[in-house]
Amino acid sequence: MGFVTAEPIELAPLIAAVQAPERGGVASFLGLVRNHHGGRAVLRLEYSAYAPMAEAECARIVAEAEGRWQVSVALRHRVGSLAVGDVAVAAAAASAHREAAFAACRYVIEEVKRRVPIWKREFHADGTEVWVDPTATLQHA
């Protein structure tokens, strides 16, 4: 299975994929669709990806984390139409001890947001819709 999926994301299989007898700590992160953004009520999001590059970039990020810490990492990002509360992204990192697990999980999610070519279109309760531009958040913060 790839990193980018149109299917709902479950955390348990990701944790199962990284846990092992010698790894005593698993840190995980779930990114969920929020019901508000920039002061507007959000009904749903549509995620789209440049899929081949998104896969390649996720693989690079996981490899970087596994090279920097003694961890095993699992990562998924959803595409398609998501409702409020749906899981958009999930990461799990397992290590012998918690420090590396937390650090690697944090690294992976931050790099996903910074580097993976995925976009989201936001559908508002008032009927408007917009491509989300995180670089423009200061304009309506």
């Binding site: 995620y47 440049y50 070519p117 995925i118 976009w119």
Partner: protein
């Protein structure tokens, strides 16, 4: 020798999200003077109808990896111009 012999290369450029909306296409084929860089690609895209909505220095990718504007492009490269990323 006719002027049309000026070296050129043709590349296909992938567009996504707001940039695909701006150009009204998910990919465009561009014939560029050779040698060319990603900056040349952006310059030619911005000259197309709707292309003026693209920033002068957008994120670029070449062969499935982020790439700087001064990277050269070659025939057969997979080039993509990326709107601000919004994953997560």
């Amino acid at each position: 020798m006719p002027a049309s012999i000026t070296p050129s290369l043709t590349v296909r450029v992938l567009l996504f999200a707001s940039y695909a909306d701006a150009l009204g296409a998910e990919s465009v084929s561009l014939t560029l003077p050779s040698p060319a860089t990603l900056a040349t690609v952006v310059e030619h895209l911005r000259a197309l109808p709707g292309g003026e909505q693209l920033p002068a220095k957008p994120l670029c990718a070449r062969n499935l990896a982020h790439a700087a504007a001064d990277e050269p492009v070659a025939a057969g490269d997979e080039i993509a111009i990326l709107p601000p990323l919004a994953g997560g």
